[in-house]
Symmetry: C2
Subunit: 425 residues, 2 copies
C-alpha cells in the first residue's frame, strides 16, 4: 500500500526538495547500473529521475508509472533533483516497444514511420514540440484579434455548391443530396462582417488537393479574419501584422521549451512590414508573369531580408485574373487588385485583400465570368442589404508552424495529416 501524496510535475521537482511527493508519467528510459537502477519518467512538463536499488523494476519503456518517494537534490539529475526511496506502481499495461527509441535525443525514424505511428511517435519531445508552438500561435492569434474587437465565429463545413473555386472540392452524400466540404469560411465570414463588423474563425478547411507535395494537405487549420469599414487592403494588412506579432509573442511566452528544443528562431515582426507592388516585384525579378513561382517567392524574401532586414514581405496588387471574383480591383488600375500575399521565409504564408462590397459589383463580376447568380443567392444577400468596404485574410496554421520550426514537410506540423494517400491513423 502506497501512502497518498500530491502529484508534482517533473519540472517542479527541485522546488520540493525533502518532501514526500508523487510523480507520474511514462517510463522514458530505464538505466540499470551495477549498484543502482534509474528510471527516467516523462510527463507533460519534462523528465524526472527516480532512483531504485540495483535490479529494480524491470519494466519496458513507455509503461505508465506512478512513483512515490522523497525528493533529493542531485545536480546530475534532470532539473537538479531526483526521487529516492521510491515506491513504483504500474498504471498501464506493460508497454509494447515503440516503433523507434523515444528516449534518444534525435529522432531515428523516417517521416512515414512517424506518421504511421503518430499516437506513439509524437511522444518524442522533438516531434511533439511543433504542436506546442502551434497551440501557442492560435492562442496568440485569438488574443490579438480579441484585443481589436473581433468576434469569434463557427461556420458550416458543409455547403450546397462548390461555388468558391469549383475545383478541388470533396463531394458528400448529405441525406441523399450532393453537398461539398467547405474550402474556406470565405462567404460566411464576409456575411458576418454585416453582423459583427470584425470576425475570425480558427477551424478546418478542406481541399481535394491532388498534388503530393511537402506543402499541400487535404485538411488544414485556417486562421481566418475579416473586417469591415476598411479604407482598403492596407487596413487589413495592418490587422494581419498585429495578428502575426501576437502569434510570435505568444510562442515566445507559452512555448519556450518547444522553441528551445527545436532551436527555432522566432522572427522580428517589423512595426511596418515592407511592401512591394506585384508590378515592382516583377521588375525586380526581371520577370513578366501573372503569378509568383516558388522560386520568385524565395528571391523576394531574400530581397526583403537584405533591403529591409525583414523576414516578412507583403506583395500587393496581384493581377485580378489570378484572384477570386470577389476581389476588389485597384482604383485606377483595374487589371490589378487590392489584394496581397504575405511572404515569410521564402514562402507565401497568407493571402488576403479587400473584397467587393456593392451588390452591383458582384453582379457584374459574376456576369463577367459567365457565372449564374442562383448558386450565390445566399451569399449575395449581404451585399443587397448594405455592406461596408471590407477585407480579410487566411493564414494556414500548419504552414506557419513549419516555417517557424524549419520543418522540411508540412506533415511534421500537422496532427494526423490527411492527403491523397493518407487517411489513417
Amino acid at each position: 500500500m502506497i501512502r497518498p501524496a500530491t502529484r508534482v510535475l517533473a519540472a517542479e521537482l527541485a522546488a520540493h526538495a525533502g518532501e514526500s511527493v508523487e510523480v507520474c508519467g511514462w517510463l522514458h528510459r530505464r538505466r540499470a547500473l551495477k549498484s543502482v537502477t534509474f528510471l527516467i519518467l516523462r510527463d507533460r512538463s519534462g523528465l524526472a529521475q527516480v532512483v531504485l536499488p540495483a535490479g529494480g523494476e524491470d519494466l519496458p519503456e513507455e509503461t505508465v508509472l506512478r512513483v512515490r518517494g522523497t525528493v533529493v537534490p542531485d545536480s546530475a539529475a534532470p532539473g537538479g533533483a531526483e526521487v529516492a526511496r521510491a515506491e513504483v506502481e504500474v498504471l498501464s499495461s506493460r508497454a509494447a516497444p515503440p516503433p523507434f527509441d523515444l528516449y534518444r535525443p534525435a529522432v531515428p525514424a523516417s517521416l512515414p514511420t512517424v506518421l504511421d505511428h503518430a499516437p506513439v511517435a509524437l511522444r518524442h519531445p522533438l516531434l511533439r514540440a511543433p504542436y506546442e508552438i502551434g497551440a501557442a500561435s492560435v492562442a496568440g492569434f485569438r488574443a490579438a484579434l480579441d484585443g481589436l474587437g473581433f468576434t469569434e465565429i463557427h461556420t458550416p463545413k458543409v455547403v450546397s455548391s462548390a461555388t468558391e473555386s469549383g475545383a478541388n472540392v470533396f463531394a458528400l452524400d448529405w441525406f441523399g443530396r450532393r453537398a461539398y466540404l467547405a474550402q474556406s469560411p470565405q462567404f460566411f465570414k464576409q456575411a458576418m462582417v454585416g453582423v459583427f463588423e470584425r470576425v475570425y474563425e480558427t477551424g478546418p478547411v478542406f481541399r481535394a488537393e491532388p498534388h503530393d507535395t511537402a506543402r499541400h494537405l487535404a485538411q488544414y487549420t485556417s486562421l481566418d479574419a475579416e473586417l469591415g469599414f476598411v479604407r482598403d487592403h492596407r487596413d487589413v494588412m495592418a490587422v494581419l501584422r498585429t495578428a502575426v506579432a501576437g502569434m510570435t509573442a505568444a510562442v515566445a511566452e507559452r512555448a519556450q521549451r518547444a522553441v528551445q528544443a527545436l532551436g527555432a528562431v522566432l522572427p522580428e515582426v517589423p512595426e511596418e512590414i515592407p511592401s512591394l507592388h506585384f508590378a515592382e516585384a516583377m521588375e525586380l525579378l526581371g520577370a513578366d508573369e501573372p503569378d509568383l513561382s516558388p522560386e520568385h517567392e524565395r528571391r523576394l524574401s531574400r530581397w526583403a531580408l537584405e533591403e529591409h532586414g525583414s523576414e516578412f514581405l507583403y506583395v500587393t496588387g496581384y493581377p485580378m485574373a489570378k484572384r477570386p471574383f470577389y476581389t476588389h480591383p485597384e482604383p485606377g488600375r483595374p487589371a490589378c487588385s487590392n489584394s496581397f500575399d504575405l511572404l515569410f521565409r521564402g514562402l507565401e504564408l497568407v493571402t488576403g485583400g479587400q473584397r467587393l462590397h456593392r451588390i452591383e459589383d458582384y453582379e457584374a463580376a459574376l456576369a463577367a465570368r459567365g457565372e449564374p447568380r442562383e448558386p450565390y443567392a445566399g451569399y449575395l444577400q449581404s451585399f443587397a442589404h448594405g455592406m461596408p468596404p471590407h477585407g480579410g485574410f487566411a493564414l494556414g496554421l500548419e504552414r506557419w508552424t513549419a516555417r517557424l520550426t524549419g520543418a522540411d514537410n508540412i506533415r511534421r506540423t500537422t496532427l494526423f495529416p490527411r492527403d491523397l494517400h493518407r487517411l489513417t491513423p
Copy 2:
C-alpha cells in the same frame, strides 16, 4: 469633400462631447420629423443618433454610412449624445429592404424566415446576441483549461472508417475512396493524452441525424477535453466544473450587453455540483429503464434545484450497455460505468467519463461486441504502448448557448445551421 477624423464607436460617443468625429455603421432607422431628420446608426457597439435638417438623406434602412460631425450631449439620444452638423457619405449600395424590420425591438419574423435570411436577419441585436454569448463561452472554456495545463489540438474531420458508433455518419468521396466525416475527436483526443496528458479541441463534429427536432443538428461545435492521470471519472467532473464556471464567468464579463438584451439569467456554478448515481436517479424517478428520457432529465433537474439549489446535476454510473465500448466500468459493479452526464436546466449538456486505458481491456471490449480489431488498429496503438487512466467530456456549444438564452430551438444559437432539410444559406 469631408474632412478626415478618427472613427468613434457609437458606445463611445458621449465621451467625445464637443469633438469632431466620424461614426460608421448601418442606417438602423430613419425618422423624418417636421423640423428635423434623425438617422439612427448601428455599429458593432450599439446605436448612435445623427441629426440632420428636415428632409435630410432619404436613404433606405441598412444602407451603410460614414458620418462626420460634432458630438453634442443630448439626454434623449441613445448613449446620451448625438452627432450634429453632420455630413453623410454612403459607403454601400442603397440597401434593399430587409426581410423584416431590423429596427423593431422585438423580432417580427418566424424561425424559417430568420434562417433563410441569416446574413441580414442576424443583424438584429436580439438575433445576434446568442453568438456573442457563444463566442464568450468558448473563450472562457479555453482560458479555464489553459489555466489547468491543457494543450489545444486540431484533429482530422475525415476518417477512414465509421468506427465510433457505426450509425449516423456522412460518407465522403476521398480521392475515389470511401471516407467519413468525424462524429467526434474521441479517438484523437485520447491518443493525444499519451502526448500532452491534457488536451482540448473546439471544433465542428458531424452527425447524419435523421431526426428533425429542436435540439438536433447535423453539424455542431463540440468543446472536447481529455485528461490523463485521473483517479476516475470524478477528476474529469471536477475539470468540467471548472470549465463551465469559466464559461459562465466569461459570458458575464465579455457578453454583458447580449445577456442584458436577452434578459438571460446566468447560472451559479456550485463549488461542487450535486451528483446522483444512475441507480439512485431511477429510484427517485420510480422508474427502471436503461437510459434517461427527456422527461426524466427535466424531473431530475427540478429535483436538483429544489434539493440542492443547483441548476446543474451530475448523473453518474450509466449502464455500460448504453455507453460506447471504450467506457470504463464501475469497479465492483460491472454493469454500471464510470461515466456521467451533466444536466443543465432540464437537458443533458455534457457526456463524459473515464475510458479504458489497458490494451487488454480494449481487446476484450471489442471482442465482446463482436467487432474486428483491424479498423481500430490506429486507435489501439496508444494503449499498446502505455496509457494512463484517463477520461474526458464533450459539451455542445450551441446547446449550452440555447440553455443560457432560453432559446426554443437550437437553430437560434447555430450560425447557418445544417440539418436534414437545410444546407443553405
